[in-house]
Symmetry: C2
Subunit: 408 residues, 2 copies
């Protein structure tokens, strides 16, 4: 029998403990800014998914046997569907951490089921919303120990204006696709690709998109071409008290973006971990039109980084293992464990009727830091041996002292 489905993963406790912690840390930042949780089903009508992505999406998604339903490939389409058909007060600021499914050929670091952590703001055209997403993203990077994230900003309005000005509206899709590959194929190949498609016009475009200039120089160079696009970015920048780099070559996919687009790297040498942008036209596909901007946090990447950083992996939440010296004292053992739990201490006991040494082996196999021994002497004296399993150090403590000591 085959085991875990191809390209998917079972998450053992060691990994889940990291995953739960990363998720909780991300969500606690989202909540700090007033984002509210909203969840949608794993499945959507195939029509809903196609409405955004066309019929070619069918190849990349998991379609159900009845051909009416399919598993969602992102969290944005379901959000757009709900937001376009609801009357939540505006702005509707929502967060959602959940799995999405894509039928990709599995390869290193790519999975057919993976989690996304999205925040979106529906119902305001103000750049304050886009700026808040960057402020929050910056805080999120800091929270995970990356004090100098590389935050890049562009505006699809400027890119569209460039297409007009340089004269590649016909070749726009192709040009954007090439620009979008910068991280993958590098500057030289991008330039070559552009020259192939645009001929001499490539030089003009490359002058506009050059990155060896200050933000001011970049914005100045396109102000006459896209006044509104520049004004929007200047407004976003005015709310950011941390480095943000204007990158006029950044496209962020061929999708639905209509205004500012952003991309955040945790540091110069760690790839993109958050990305997003404004998509003011998507909701109209699903009902009522409305403004929208959002950012998606690559939570899988963050989890991977946190796991690589940690030297030892936590295997359980348990703080203490309450061992019984001999089987006759098991009832006393669970009574002591119950007392500790009542005091908020995560405590477990032996469910296998094993001898003391084997109980310790189990506690050690999960790296539980403390063990308490419950035996005849302990019960008659009311003082229990607390053993630090890492150092081997032992103390004799009353019930109350145990609770106090283990709480800290």
């Amino acid at each position: 029998m085959k085991l875990t489905p191809k390209g998917m993963r079972d998450f053992p406790p060691e990994e889940m403990i990291v995953r739960e912690a990363v998720r909780d840390r991300i969500i606690s930042i989202y909540r700090k800014y007033g984002f509210r949780p909203m969840a949608t089903p794993a499945m959507e009508y195939l029509d809903t998914l196609r409405a955004k992505a066309g019929e070619e999406i069918d190849k990349q998604i998991f379609v159900l046997k009845d051909e009416k339903l399919a598993l969602r490939f992102d969290l944005t389409v379901p959000l757009a569907r709900v937001a376009a058909n609801s009357d939540f007060p505006r702005p509707f600021k929502r967060y959602y951490v959940g799995p999405v499914w894509r039928k990709e050929e599995p390869q290193k670091g790519r999975f057919r089921e993976f989690y996304q952590a999205d925040v979106d703001i529906i119902g305001t055209k103000s750049m304050r919303a886009d700026a808040e997403l960057l402020v929050m993203s910056n805080e999120l990077c800091n929270e995970f120990g990356f004090k100098e994230p590389k935050i890049m900003l562009n505006n699809r309005k400027i890119l569209d204006a460039l297409a007009k000005k340089v004269g590649f509206e016909k070749e726009k899709k192709e040009v954007f696709r090439i620009l979008d590959k910068m991280d993958k194929i590098g500057e030289d190949e991008v330039e070559e690709g552009l020259r192939d498609v645009l001929g001499v016009r490539a030089e003009e475009l490359l002058e506009y998109t050059a990155n060896n200039r200050t933000n001011e120089e970049k914005l100045e160079s396109v102000r006459k071409i896209s006044g509104e696009g520049v004004k929007e970015l200047e407004e976003v920048l005015s709310f950011c008290d941390f480095p943000v780099e204007i990158d006029l070559s950044m496209v962020r996919g061929l999708g639905y973006y209509t205004g500012p687009v952003f991309e955040i790297k945790l540091s110069e040498d760690i790839g993109t971990v958050m990305a997003g942008g404004r998509y003011d036209t998507l909701l109209s596909v699903y009902g009522r039109a409305d403004y929208a901007t959002g950012i998606s946090v690559g939570i899988e990447r963050l989890i991977k980084l946190v796991m690589e950083k940690e030297k030892s992996r936590k295997k359980t939440y348990s703080r203490v293992f309450v061992a019984c010296a001999t089987q006759e004292f098991y009832k006393d053992t669970i009574n002591l464990a119950a007392y500790l739990r009542k005091n908020g201490i995560l405590a477990e006991t032996d469910l296998n009727e094993r001898n003391l040494r084997k109980q310790f082996d189990y506690a050690n196999s999960l790296s539980i830091q403390y063990a308490i021994i419950v035996g005849k002497r302990e019960l008659s004296s009311g003082r229990f041996t607390l053993r630090n399993m890492e150092t081997g150090k032992e103390e004799s403590l009353s019930k109350e002292q145990l609770a106090k000591k283990l709480k800290t």
Copy 2:
């Protein structure tokens, strides 16, 4: 365009806030007892699901178009698959809260996507494990305000022994199916059904399963028939310092149970919210045989009860709305909000460039308890107006005082 898929749900913030809280409260109890998180994908190979439930399961599950994969219909089969193929230290105590999918005809309170909250203990035959599940379930009921849950206990070994003794091994499946309907059709109909199938033998069976007796009387009446089954239940009872009712008529499905089975109602008149039992043979289907017992918490039911109990629904986590008196002070507004967030206070600002009244309308629409006004006077004096949006009461406070006041 169709919206939410049939029989599935979008969860708006008001509902998600309750759902997240219920989930967290359940999980914090699981962790207290040393349970560890382990997650599996939404999909399994169809063969994996059929291995437990037979090909007839196909009608009830969502099969993917390629006919190799399907969405899981419970959390036990995936657990059994992983546990039978892993070397986690034993006992492997795992929890998992996640969605499952069943292709049922949607009806009141039944959904095609719903969440389960499971705990299982793999790798011990000791009744300590089954008892721990009951102790934990009792605590869980108390946690949700139900101080006198109705906890029922039986043993499949006793039921099997009764089939032999009364002589209905041939009709066992049918008899169990009838007994299992007790909650749905009531005692009279069950008796009638049994008489239809068993004739005079029904009377003998009904004597054994009668419930108007003490636990001791019930166990005594079957001790000679199923010594081991009785001993197991006595052991479980010996670890429970709260009422547990032996119910020899309780079957808990036709599935895979092999030993103690349990069912927990929050109170006499609220239906079953947790149920489970021992399934020592299931793992062998997926690889290595091992002991197993577990309980599934009907988290959807708990969520519904909590929502019905609460008079007012929380709409956001935000503690305070930081309003700007006029647009020019927006930067100061976000600076104050940033200061509050640094102090752990959940704060949001106006992303729509609205006037003060409309900002208050928004804060009120989300029932945010406090609002702060940032204007010229406030900025020059360093004292801000804090408004309690419920009472209308206002105070003038410094930044530091705001942080202190809002923290509590």
